[in-house]
């Protein structure tokens, strides 16, 4: 993990200020990462009690001029335990301290990095960007968690509607179902639809230790849907040192945040416990997007002898927030005084704000990890985990509600109408669509160094998942009940708050996977070849459409086989230059919805196609003491995107039924160039930059696809005119430039410029059936620039370390469209949009003890 960001840290200091004219001695050496077994870049080396210090360069070297005498030299790096060395230096003498080994200040960190397949610089042949805890602290501010990544190549992250946790991130133009997200090595993409809901993890930033984006196929050994890339999040484990911290912040929209972390440190009995909790609330900048959120985290670790570590982690981030759900045409925002902050999804009832789109979720994730160092050359890491998600989102149901002249929902009128309807029950209600789930999994990796150069690893990845999907009455809006006739087991029910309505079904997913990898590592060359296979099995249980007595209430299992093979190599040309390539191919099981496209147990689509991905990538890296540069090119073909067409037909008994047909050949090609650099001309100044140019297009038209019914009769033909159309929903060109400047000791300011260009509005390719629209791209949204500012001041209050953090995002209050969905005429007039948030700020204080 330290790999890339150590480089970044080199920034802060890489200047060896050994140019002093008067008589001095020199202390030199190499800082060494004891966990990663590599040079420690950017570590601080300071003479204790003075401001005399340097940071280590990209090779871990340091050279510090000191006045003659006996000094204590302190080595520090965020996330690592400080080391103090006493040294006596005579005038003109150079003392070589040799290798100073620094170890992570967290228990089990090294082991978790192994499970999580964290990429190592100049060794793992993938394109990667890593965000350190320090950067998260400095840059997060009021931003959403994924937005921290916006200055890295290939990333497009937005807040969508602007509600708390409603953000999304696309990598290389792929949306979340093609971006693997792993937390501590555990995959969290939804087992049914592959998506990632960041609102489940909105509070996670408080306990995140690092975040690494591996673009493209990535380094993960397990079969994950990393078409666009992999986001690898490592949470805190347990601090090796006793202590804690208290954090409080305020921000735009009445935002308040308080957090506390306590840790016992690694005690002599081998136990270590860390707990943290945070509370976050606010009214939001967009109308009606209030939030109330908590996060908690606990880790208990125990070292058993020298060979075993048992680590128990539990974390969760329960939250509830008002959403802006409906995208609107630009014109509709301009109609109301709130302008770009207008939200059509809320109103007032009895003087209380009522948002029809309320999201609430709590997904505690609990894992028990066991790290066993079997012998010098082999180890076994196992994580058993479970997560219980409960929650969902509310929305309107029944007769549509009216609006006041201010454009907000007239709930008073809705309630009056409901009351007037008397025995007919409520005409308009608010329902909650629940998506609860229970997920159990085990992930185990055995690693064996077969020789000095070759390491084998094998593992298994098993998961069992039950997603429960149902609607329930959330608010009757003044009525006594809501009449629902969806449950064949309970027809014409008068449903009250909390009763299930509309639909109620389970999706059961069994997943069994195995994987293996061979790594070769010699002097300058490192290479790997890995493969994974998986079997995904889907069952559907319908509690509403099927009688309890009906055996077809639960379907048979539908099985799909997937596999992945990938390989790559890195070659270090010199100490300063390296090149890498990687390639891979995988087929993955279709999503649940493709197997049950009509939500009907009787109409399963057993022939749903696997999606296929083929990818090539090549990269180059340069590392100098003051300058680091990465560049890479990629080509990814996404083949046979799941496309299921449903149609009505007659079965043999003459009844009208729905039929489904799989349409193959919907392909997209994403290729591009990515580059980033980091430059520290002086110790005080750091400049970072990034350029990412993508060319993401749908490959070809699909013409005259015959849709046949069970009797081989032609039902209809389908044309999809998407050939050459730009992929929407992501900025194909992004650029970033950032500077950090240390004004004086302890005070640092930073500014970031981000550019987003070539953004096409999102659209559903399957809907491009109109030949007249052939070749017409979706609405091209306007390019935009964002400026962010941050400042950090570190100081001491009564002997404890304190830190003041300030952030301003969208400094110039630019009004820009972050998300657009294409309209009928492919222009701004017909498209619906979300605007990005205006200027936001946050100010926080952190005290460490």
């Amino acid at each position: 993990m330290r790999s890339t960001f150590t480089k970044m840290y080199a920034i802060f200091g890489l200047m060896l200020i050994s140019t002093l004219g008067f008589s001095q001695g020199i202390v030199k050496g190499i800082a060494w990462d004891g966990d990663m077994k590599e040079a420690m870049v950017g570590a601080n080396v300071v003479v204790k009690g003075t401001m005399n210090g340097v940071t280590t360069d990209f090779d871990g070297n340091f050279e510090l001029s000191v006045e003659p005498g006996t000094k204590v030299i302190v080595f520090s790096f965020m996330g690592y335990t400080n080391i103090e060395k006493k040294v006596t230096v005579a005038e003109g003498q150079t003392v070589d301290l040799g290798r100073i080994v620094m170890n992570a200040d967290a228990v089990g960190l090294q082991e978790i990095q192994l499970i999580a397949n964290v990429a190592v610089d100049r060794k793992t042949p993938v394109a990667v960007s890593t965000i350190t805890p320090a950067k998260i602290q400095e840059k997060l501010g009021a931003q959403e968690f994924p937005e921290i990544l916006k200055s890295t190549p290939g990333v497009y992250a937005t807040k969508q509607g602007g509600g708390y946790g409603d953000s999304r991130i696309n990598l290389r133009g792929f949306n979340s179902e093609n971006v693997a997200v792993m937390i501590n090595g555990i995959p969290v993409n939804d087992m049914e639809n592959g998506r990632v809901y960041w609102s489940n993890w909105a509070g996670l930033s408080d306990v995140t230790r690092s975040m690494q984006v591996q673009r493209g196929l990535g380094a993960s050994k397990v079969a994950v849907p990393s078409v666009g890339g992999t986001i690898n999040i490592l949470t805190n484990t347990t601090n090796a040192k006793k202590g804690g911290s208290l954090y409080t912040a305020i921000g735009t929209g009445g935002r308040r945040k308080v957090g506390l972390t306590l840790s016992t440190g690694l005690m002599e009995n081998g136990w270590a416990v860390s707990v943290s909790g945070a509370m976050d609330e606010g009214n939001g900048l967009v109308d009606g997007t209030w939030h109330k959120a908590y996060s908690y985290f606990m880790n208990i670790s125990k070292k058993i002898g020298d060979d075993h570590i048992i680590s128990f982690t539990a974390f969760g981030a329960p939250q509830e927030h008002g959403q802006r759900y409906d995208r609107l045409k630009m014109e509709d925002y301009q109609k109301y005084p709130s302008g770009i902050n207008y939200n059509p999804n809320y109103g007032y009832l009895d003087g209380q704000m009522l948002n029809e789109r309320r999201n609430f979720y709590h997904k505690p994730q609990i894992s028990l990890n066991w790290y066993w160092t079997i012998n010098e050359s082999s180890n076994l890491s196992t994580a058993a985990y479970m997560s219980y998600g409960t929650g969902g989102g509310t929305g309107p149901l029944g007769a549509s509600v009216t609006r006041t002249n201010d454009g907000i929902i007239d709930y008073e009128a809705a309630r009056d109408a409901n009351i007037a309807n008397g025995a007919g029950g409520s005409k308009s209600i608010i329902r909650a669509s629940r998506n609860d789930h229970k997920w159990y999994g085990i992930l185990s990796v055995y690693e064996k160094e077969a020789s000095d150069n070759i390491t084998f690893s094998v593992g298994l990845d098993s998961r069992y998942y039950v997603g429960s999907h149902f609607r329930e009455v959330s608010n009757l809006l003044g009525g006594e009940y809501y009449i629902d006739n969806s449950d064949v087991n309970n027809p014409n029910r008068k449903a009250k708050v909390g009763d299930k309505i509309a639909y109620n079904n389970d999706g059961q997913v069994m997943y069994a996977g195995g994987f293996g990898q061979v790594e070769y590592s010699a002097d300058r060359l490192s290479a790997f070849l890995s493969g994974a296979i998986s079997e995904t099995s889907y069952k559907r249980v319908d509690y509403f459409q099927k009688l309890d007595s009906d055996p077809s209430q639960t379907t048979d299992a539908f099985n799909f086989f997937g596999y992945m093979i990938k390989g790559g190599a890195n070659y270090n040309l010199t100490d300063n230059h390296n090149v890498f390539i990687n390639t891979g191919y995988f087929e993955r099981a279709p999503f649940f919805k493709a197997v049950f496209p009509t939500n009907d147990n009787d109409e399963a689509n057993a022939d749903a196609q696997t999606e296929k991905v083929l990818s090539f990538e090549a990269g180059y890296g340069a590392r100098y003491s003051k300058f680091a540069f990465n560049a890479n090119v990629y080509w990814t073909k996404w083949k046979d995107k799941s496309m299921v067409k449903t149609f009505q037909t007659e079965n043999q008994a003459g009844d009208l039924i729905f039929g489904t047909a799989n349409i193959t050949g919907v392909n997209a090609i994403h290729m591009g160039v990515e580059a980033d650099f980091r430059y520290n001309p002086t110790e005080k100044l750091t400049i970072t930059g990034m350029l990412s140019v993508g060319n993401w297009t749908w490959e070809n038209d699909i013409l005259d696809v015959p849709i046949l019914d069970d009797n081989n009769n032609l039902v209809e033909t389908v044309n999809v005119y998407i050939g050459g159309l730009k992929v929407g929903n992501s900025a194909q060109t992004t650029t970033a430039l950032g500077i950090d400047y240390k004004l004086f000791d302890g005070f640092k300011v930073g500014a970031d410029w981000n550019f987003f260009g070539n953004i096409y509005a999102d659209f559903d390719p399957l809907r491009r059936n109109d030949e007249a629209d052939k070749g017409v791209d979706s609405w091209k949204m306007k390019d935009y620039h964002l400026f962010d500012f941050n400042a950090k001041y570190s100081f001491k209050i009564g002997g404890v370390d304190a830190m003041l953090l300030a952030n301003v995002n969208n400094l110039f209050d630019s009004e820009y469209v972050s998300d657009g969905f294409d309209g009928a005429n492919h222009d701004w007039q017909s498209s619906t949009v979300y605007y990005g948030l205006g200027r936001t700020y946050s100010i926080g204080l952190k005290v460490k003890f």
Binding site: M330, P681, D770, K782, L811, F812, V817, W828, T832
Partner: protein, 405 residues
């Protein structure tokens, strides 16, 4: 070095900070919204007190009225239909109420004009001659009565009328009543070739029965109930087209604390078999006309505006969301899987809705503007204007593109 970089960064921020990418669009939108607001402020229903005799007269005037009253009509008003309610028909005011005073020629008057001997006029007066001697006149009798009235009324007002009662000898002595009007300084015999003016007498009221109680009409004893019959009796030989102005006394009831009455006039015309009141008269009805703003001009529209209801959508397989959608706005089958292909499913659905739920609108020349909910990446209310010509509905206007491929 770092100064260069810093100033470079600041320069960059100045370049980009000023640029709000959507500024032009937002300006255009707020301008459009203003225009829309103005356009929306134009009422869709207007009620006027104005009266027009004919539809043609109304069309010209109301078109002008809309143009002058709503100069704010703009491109967003295009297609808007405003319904104006006004009076169509005839209003005839009551004839002038002219009550003649009565003057009975006295013995002294006869003496004054040289008829004192018999105290009567005769045929020798009712002829051209000289009066006084040396002054030629058309009619001696009129000149004598002029002299009498000038003595009786020192300062008459122009138009004053007096019913003069005198004795006349023509073999027998009869009493005559003749109305004289003061015109241009002379009392002249009053005659109206078209209208006979008759002022009801007490005897007339009494002869009619109930009106005789107070010698008047009132709201409970209306003239309409009595005068046609009165005229039949008293003008038994009237010819078609003959008109009579009847002056009558009308009891108003309590006004400002005291009982009041007034003279009123009514004109009846004989229409061959009966007498019809022709003045005062109000034949107007409240009439509604629709004006549609088309290419910058308010034009009379015969179109009927309908807004589709949930029941309408349910009739044509669009009941799930109570709207039409982009997938209706294209060629296809309707009903689903029926094998019946149509150029545009949505238009076919509208046709079916009109046929089943608005059958009264299905007739030659009928123009209908159909408003409906429409979904295409968002909800909106759209409309089509269609005319029933030659047995089919012909599309003449629409707020969205109707797609045929």
């Amino acid at each position: 070095m770092k100064k260069i970089l810093l100033s470079g960064f600041l320069g960059l921020s100045l370049i980009f900070s000023s640029c709000n990418p959507y500024e032009d669009i937002h300006d255009q939108l707020s301008n459009d919204i203003e225009l829309k607001t103005e356009s929306d402020a134009i009422p869709t229903e207007i009620s006027l007190d104005s009266t027009y005799a004919t539809l043609e007269e109304a069309e010209v005037s109301l078109q002008k009225y809309m143009t002058v009253t709503y100069p704010s009509a703009n491109k967003f008003t295009e297609g808007k239909v405003t319904e104006i309610e006004y009076n169509l028909g005839l209003v005839v005011d009551a004839p002038d109420v002219i009550v003649s005073e009565k003057y009975v020629v006295t013995d002294a008057d006869y003496e004054l004009v040289g008829n004192g001997k018999y105290k009567t006029f005769s045929k020798y007066d009712d002829t051209a001659g000289e009066y006084p001697i040396g002054t030629p006149v058309d009619n001696i009798l009129d000149a004598k009565i002029d002299q009498i009235l000038k003595v009786a009324y020192a300062t008459p007002a122009e138009g004053n009328r007096v019913e003069v009662e005198y004795e006349y000898y023509d073999g027998n002595t009869v009493t005559k009543k003749v109305v004289y009007a003061f015109t241009s300084g002379v009392w002249e015999r009053y005659s109206n070739p078209d209208v006979v003016v008759y002022q009801l007498t007490d005897a007339d009221y009494e002869a009619m029965g109930a009106p005789g109680a107070h010698h008047n009409f009132s709201s409970s004893v209306p003239q309409e109930d009595y005068l046609p019959r009165f005229l039949e009796i008293n003008y038994a030989y009237a010819q078609t087209g003959d008109a009579v102005n009847i002056i009558y006394y009308y009891f108003l009831g309590k006004v400002d604390g005291s009982y009041k009455s007034e003279y009123r006039a009514v004109t009846y015309v004989f229409e061959g078999t009966s007498w019809k009141q022709v003045a005062p008269l109000d034949t107007t009805i409240r009439h509604k006309s629709k004006y549609k703003y088309t290419e910058g001009v308010w034009k009379l529209s015969k179109a009927v505006v309908i807004i589709l209801t949930d029941a309408d959508y349910e009739l044509v397989e669009s009941g799930k969301y109570h709207n039409f959608a982009y997938y209706d706005n294209r060629p296809g089958e309707y009903p689903k899987d029926s094998g019946n292909e149509f150029d545009n499913v949505m238009m076919e659905k509208i046709r079916v809705i009109l046929e089943k739920n608005y059958s009264d609108l299905v007739h030659e020349g009928s123009e209908v503007i159909v408003h409906f909910n429409y979904y295409d990446s968002g909800n909106s209310v759209e409309n089509v204007t269609i005319i029933f010509e030659g047995g089919v509905w012909v599309l003449t206007d629409s707020s969205i593109t109707i797609k045929y491929e």
